[in-house]
Every structure is written in C-alpha cells, then in structure tokens.
C-alpha cells in the first residue's frame, strides 16, 4: 500500500494528527517566545546572569528528547501538556541565545547616541535595540520552530498525539508506509514553517542595502 493510498483511507485521522502536531508546535513556540524574549533581554542587560541562564538552557538542549519526556512524566503526567513543556524547554535556548546576541550585537556607539540624546532605557530597547536585533531574534525563533516540529514527533510516545503516532505505530509493526506517512508530512511541515518565517523575516526586518 502506498502512502497516498493510506492517506486516502485515513484522511480524517491524518488531518487530526496534523492539527495536533501544529498545535503542539505553535503553543510551545509561542510560550518559548513569551518566556525567552524577556529572558534574553535580561541576560543582555545583566552580563552576570548570562552564563548561568545560557548554561542551563544549553544543558536542557543536550538531554535527549525521549529522556526529557520521561523525566517530565512524573511531574506533569502523560499527555499533551508534558509534551508542550518539553518543547518549550527545547525552544527556549535558541530564542534566549539569539535575543541576547542580537541586543548585545547592537553597535555601542548607536546605544550611546540614544542615551546621550535622552532616551530612557525602555525607549532605547523598544525603538532601537529590539528593531536592530529583530533579524537575529527571528533567526532564533526559526530554529526553535523547526526543531519543535521534529521533536514534536516524539511526543506521540507519551500520548500527546501528532504525526509521531504514525511513526511509532510504523516502527512497532515494521511498516515502512506508516513510518513515511508520519515522517513526510512532518518534514514538509518543517520546511513550510521555515519558509514562512523566512518570509516574515524579509518583511519585518530592517536591513542596510
């Protein structure tokens, strides 16, 4: 049975899993952005916090995704919220790191010009630092989202649904069609997310040219 035939018979299920998958990625990426952006700004402002915060997010990144999910089950139980928590932890690093890098990368002379002309800290951040750092920050978000699409397939292992359901089912029954039925749309989803965010980057981000 080809993948297309399989989809023909299980269209409803495919759409459900796809929706679950996208949901996991969107929610976790949004949370990672909401947490990561202020955290990145904070470590950019307070260099003393940089090492512990970036170090911690780095350590989380090195934990294999299946192990992280396993570790979170005793805390959050089984299901989508545990998966979202794990995805947020993974997505946090690129967002925090790139926000920090984008802001600290702003030319000190520009920052000093802003201060010197009487901009407050908040005005400088909102009108100068964040707009100039937007490209680097968005690049981090892009990495976070693409990684999330991949890691979200593992979420099926703890009953969070998503396209990983096909993959795990395929692995368990040694059925290549099923594995592909999950893997192909997951890969396409990653490409689509990457493309859309790239488009947003070109639209939103100022660039000298």
């Amino acid at each position: 049975m080809s993948v297309l035939e399989f989809y023909g018979r299980h269209t409803g299920e495919l759409l459900l899993l796809l929706r679950q998958h996208v949901g996991l990625v969107v929610i976790s990426s949004a949370v990672a952005l909401v947490l990561g952006l202020p955290l990145g700004i904070l470590v950019a402002r307070r260099p003393a916090w940089r090492k512990p915060v970036l170090g911690l997010t780095n350590v989380v990144q090195t934990v294999p995704s299946l192990a992280l999910l396993g570790l979170l089950i005793p805390v959050f139980g089984i299901g989508a919220w545990t998966a979202v928590t794990a995805l947020v932890l993974y997505a946090l690093l690129p967002v925090v790191r790139n926000t920090n890098a984008g802001i600290t990368g702003v030319d000190p002379a520009i920052r000093e010009a802003g201060r010197g002309m009487g901009m407050s800290d908040g005005e400088l951040l909102r009108l100068v630092e964040l707009p100039l750092a937007a490209g680097v920050i968005l690049a981090g978000v892009r990495v976070a989202v693409v990684v999330s699409v991949g890691v979200a397939t593992i979420a099926a292992a703890i009953g969070a649904g998503g396209l990983g359901v096909y993959i795990f089912r395929g692995v368990a029954t040694v059925d290549d069609t099923l594995i592909l039925a999950g893997a192909i749309p997951a890969a396409l989803l990653a490409l689509l997310a990457d493309g859309l965010l790239g488009l947003a980057e070109r639209r939103l981000v100022w660039r000298a040219r």
């Binding site: 520009i110 010009a113 802003g114 010197g116 002309m117 009487g118 407050s120 009108l127 100022w206 000298a208």
Partner: protein
C-alpha cells in the same frame, strides 16, 4: 549675562588615573566654545561628563542655573543636543524618523512633529521632500552630519554638544559644513560646545577656544589671543596647522 552652561572644577578619574582635571568654563547663549586638543586629551570625556554619559568624580555642571547632577537624567539630556560622528544616526529609521524622534518621545502631535522635521531639514540645508523617506545609509557623509545636527536640535535644547562632528568628512565637504555651521550657530542662540582636534576648524568656529592637555585646560581665550599666545602647547598646535 548668565551663562547657560556653567562647568566648575570638573574632574574625572578612572581606576586612579586622572582623565579630566579641574576643568572650568562657562558658555553663554549664542556662544560657541571650542575644546581643542590631541587624541586622549580628554575632550570627548568632558562632553560626556556634561550630559552624564559619564559621572564626574569632581566638580559640577549647571545648566540654566540648575545643577545637572540632581536632575532626572533623561530630562537633563533632552535639554542638551548631542552630535557625534556619523555613526550616531539610527540606521533602521528614515531621516524623518531620526529627526522627529525626540519630538515624538515628547508627545508632540503628528502634525507638529512633521512640521518641525521639515523646518529642521531646511535649516541644515536639506530639501525635506527629497530626503524625508531616505535611510541614513543612502546619504553621503556630509548629508548624514547635517541630519545629525537637525536631530540634535529636535526639541530646541538650550545647549548643543558636538563631538568631532565633521571628523569623518572629506576636506571640501568639511569646509562647507564648517561655514554653514558657523552661520547656523550665530542664528540659533544656543550655548555650543564644539570638540575638535583640528586647529583651523576650532579657530574658525569658536568665539573662544580652550586648549586641553592631559585633561586640563591649559589655555582659554579668543581665537586671536590663541594665535598670539606664546604658550608652548599652543605654539605646538599652531605649528601643526601651518
């Protein structure tokens, strides 16, 4: 006449090294004081001590009779126009946005801000209709410097500080901007402090010239007094220009 800017016994130490030492001067409305000196003499440091980008370790600065150290730092800086070499413009903002930034932050209405921006661009010799939507990188160095001056004048501050504003320009553009700035300064009625290492520029623009050496003012007087001075540091500077 009361000075607009009054600097008394200003000093700055960094890691036990004295960068600025006992600097005093006063600048009245419509007057341009030039601070002259070689690199590392403390010129830029003095400017930054006035707008408190650096905090003085000795002495005091008064603006319109008010002590700068006791004021809210943002309010203080908005009363002091600040022009630096061309990097100072915000690269992601158009010329209009750059020049209109302070009026906007001061909650001016859109119409009033737009009118002010046009007025300022005309003042510094740029046609508002040609330049308003351009970005800094689309301008020549001289045009950028004009915008820098226009931006510093945004909300009409009584004091204007310029730190080597024409330092990165070619000689022809530089001479042109010097001539125009001289005219402009004469009409604006601001207390201007102009930092340069170029003695010709200093003598052309300054009503008075202060020569800095090792963080101290070793000479303070009019350009003709400067030319006539027998002080060795002054002679050295005059000879370098000859």
């Amino acid at each position: 006449m009361n000075p607009v800017l009054d600097v008394r016994g200003l000093g700055y130490e960094l890691q036990r090294r004295t960068i600025v030492d006992g600097v005093s001067f006063a600048v009245g409305p419509g007057e341009t004081l030039v601070l002259l000196g070689r690199s590392g003499a403390g010129k830029s440091t003095i400017i930054k001590l006035i707008n408190r980008l650096l905090i003085p370790t000795a002495g005091a600065v008064q603006i319109d009779g008010q002590d700068a150290g006791t004021q809210d730092i943002v309010r203080l800086r908005r009363r002091i126009g600040y022009v630096i070499q061309e990097i100072g413009l915000f690269p992601h903002m158009t010329i209009t946005e750059n020049v209109g930034l302070l009026p906007r932050l001061e909650q001016w209405s859109k119409e009033r801000t737009a009118e002010r921006v046009r007025e300022l661009l005309r003042l510094v010799g740029l046609d508002p209709d040609t330049f308003d939507a351009r970005y800094p990188h689309q301008l020549s160095g001289g045009q950028r410097q004009r915008v820098g001056v226009a931006r510093a004048l945004g909300i009409d501050p009584p004091v204007l500080l310029l730190d080597e504003p024409f330092g990165a320009l070619d000689p022809v553009t530089r001479a042109e901007l010097q001539r125009e700035f001289r005219k402009l300064a004469a009409t604006l009625g601001k207390a201007v402090v102009f930092v340069t290492h170029d003695v010709r520029e200093g003598l052309l623009l300054g009503a008075r010239v202060g020569l800095l050496d090792g963080g101290r003012i070793v000479f303070l007087g009019t350009p003709s007094e400067f030319r006539a001075s027998a002080l060795p540091q002054v002679r050295q500077f005059m000879d370098s220009a000859a």
